[in-house]
């Protein structure tokens, strides 16, 4: 059994740009297998685990956390060997200048996204953000060689290995939302120690960053009586508003708002208080921007709870989370599932 921090690092370093999750699905299935009765990978590369409940007629609880990450896609290979690209998911163009990347071609290729030397920038352009279409990936190959190894449509991920920081924190490229997957594993670990009546379906989902695709498919196929979504929310940084950013290390942020089921949310908050599990309140007045929006309206509608792990610097290659929050999230979810009324 891997310690939570090590697992987060291992998961963060997997490469699974939205739409190319198949390269990472086996690794996640293997992690789930340690705690589940059944594990399978569905046709869209959602990784599904089932931990059976003990009731004779168990209900189904669905827990999802997406495992895709934002990245880039090769749109053209120029005669000079440079690669043009477009973003996959919400990539902030400001973060990718002067970046090391891996191009997933015939085999993985090292590349860099260049940047103009400051000396050469026209002073009039200094305040403008660069556009994607003006940037290139340099893989150091001739056009001929590049075309042999790279195809239009190949995905590109960022090179930014996860590392341990002070205060039990970790920084890495895809903690959004591999730390959510790690929280699912924490939930399963905790559930092993507890009795639970209901079937627990855990799903590491795909293509969230492209419009909740994996979640939409998962909650249609698995008839759930309750869904729990684990994702990240904004960690607090200087200048962020108090009602939409949350300090690291103070526990999971329990979402509250129109599309989240009030009764369950209240019960979850009460449980956290009673069990002294650290938590925060995350007001979500709209769609939440998470898979909760998909599950809430799946088929007849599924009551949804949203648990978020505060992450600083979201959608940059140096996202930062606290391991303590991941553990707290897993504990809270597991206790809630085990403590449900029969």
């Amino acid at each position: 059994m891997m310690h939570c921090g090590e697992l987060i690092i291992k998961l963060s370093d997997l490469r699974a740009v939205s739409g190319r999750e198949n390269e990472a699905s086996d690794a996640i299935a293997e992690v789930f297998r340690e705690y589940c009765d059944e594990v399978y990978i569905d046709g869209f590369y959602n990784v599904v685990g089932l931990k059976k409940g003990q009731a004779s007629e168990p209900k189904n609880i669905l827990i999802t956390a997406h495992y895709d990450e934002i990245g880039l896609i090769v749109t053209d290979i120029e005669e000079s060997g440079f690669l043009r690209f477009a973003p996959v998911g919400g990539v902030d163009v400001k973060t990718i200048g002067a970046m090391e990347v891996t191009v997933h071609g015939k085999h993985d290729l090292f590349g860099v996204i260049g940047a103009k030397a400051p000396h050469l920038i026209d002073p009039a352009d200094k305040d403008k953000a660069v556009k994607f279409e003006d940037m290139r990936i340099d893989i150091g190959l001739s056009g001929e060689k590049a075309k042999e190894l790279v195809t239009i449509g190949d995905m590109v991920s960022f090179n930014s290995p996860a590392q341990k920081m002070m205060n039990n924190r970790i920084a890495g490229k895809s903690l959004d939302n591999r730390c959510g997957v790690a929280a699912i594993v924490e939930t399963l670990k905790e559930l092993k120690k507890l009795n639970h009546d209901d079937n627990v379906y855990v799903v590491a989902t795909v293509q969230e960053e492209l419009g909740l695709i994996g979640a939409i498919c998962a909650s249609y196929r698995i008839d759930a009586d309750l869904a729990i979504v684990i994702d990240v929310c904004h960690g607090d940084m200087p200048g962020t508003p108090a009602d939409s950013s949350f300090p690291l290390g103070k526990g999971t942020a329990i979402g509250i708002g129109p599309i989240l089921n009030r009764e369950h949310v209240k019960a979850m908050i009460k449980l956290a208080k009673d069990e002294h599990i650290p938590y925060q309140i995350d007001p979500e007045t709209g769609d939440t921007g998470t898979e909760a929006a998909a599950h809430a309206v799946a088929k007849e509608g599924i009551p949804v709870i949203l648990l978020s792990i505060p992450s600083k610097y979201m959608h940059t290659p140096v996202e930062m989370i606290s391991v303590d929050d991941v553990i707290a999230t897993g504990r809270l979810a597991a206790r809630y599932i085990a403590g449900r009324e029969k």
Binding site: P241, A242, D243, S244, I256, G257, P258, I259, L260, R262, V265, I281, P283, T285, G286, D287, A293, A296, V297, A298, K299, E300, G301, I302, P303
Partner: protein, 355 residues
Amino acid sequence: MKEALNNLKKLTALDGISGEEKPVREYIISIIKDYVDNYYVDNMGNLITYKKGRGNGPKVMVDAHMDEVGLMVTHITSEGLLKFQTVGGIEGRVLVGKRVRIGETCVPGVIGYKPIHLQEKKERASAVDIKQLTIDIGSKDRERAEEKVQVGDMVAFSYDPVEFGDNKLMAKALDNRVGCAVLIELLKHSYEFDLYGCFTVQEEVGLKGAKTASYQIMPDIALILEGTTCYDVPDTKEHDMSTVSGDGPVLTLMDRTVITDRDLVNKIIDVAKNNKIPYQFKRTISGGTNAGRIQANAEGVKVAVIAVPCRYIHTPVSVMDISDFENSYRLSKRFLESLGVSIDLYREEGGKEYV
């Protein structure tokens, strides 16, 4: 119709911000339970009622959303003031100086702002940023405030309905208690076909409830009852008015979420003409309704919208003409009555048959 208007007033006096529609739902249940054959509340909070028809016919869903726009408490400051965000579309410009009530216990609050005397010249001329506004409940500090209010509590406008002018009604939440009130009246009668009256939730936050309700019902036809935009005020060009108050129920041909079924709309027009009920078309294609979600359900549903024009929609002082409300009811009822005998409409070559 006196009773219907009274119901409408009572409905607007209740609070049902998206996700917290319970007070509205309970009131509706108390009225309709004697008129319908069956009803239940689903996972999301939709109230789904069923009236068995006299004969065969298409399965018809009539939808009216119960929820209204409002605010939600998102943070309590150390001074005991409440930060908030909007639930559904509310313009920051209308919030300053409004009375509100918070949560299930209806704690009174006001939205204050820096007096005009203290504003810089530039501030006076610019719109207010919602982020700068707070709700004041009179509390001294955070601890006292937390005794009454919690983060996540919903905030509704605190304004009572008023009849005024020439047959006008001012109230909050006319969008869409007006649709609810029409649907309640419709449920008092019986029809040829099986009717599913759905009072849906979470329309204002993305047409959520109608999606799951229509999946449970799988209707062939759906009629959506709404309160819609109206801006027939001076200095507005006629084509920008959207609709005109007092000119009759509004038929939607197209908006951002739907192109309504042409045959069904033509059918409604025929019914209006035959019964001398006025009607108008919406002059803009902005906004969205549950019709879009219901149409896209399963293998598809034929949809139409009948709406009451409401001035100043999504503010605490929306205004409608009472005749539009009455005519919307008449038109909807006549239309539903005509459905039983006009099944030929759905018997196109290769289409579904309902005989």
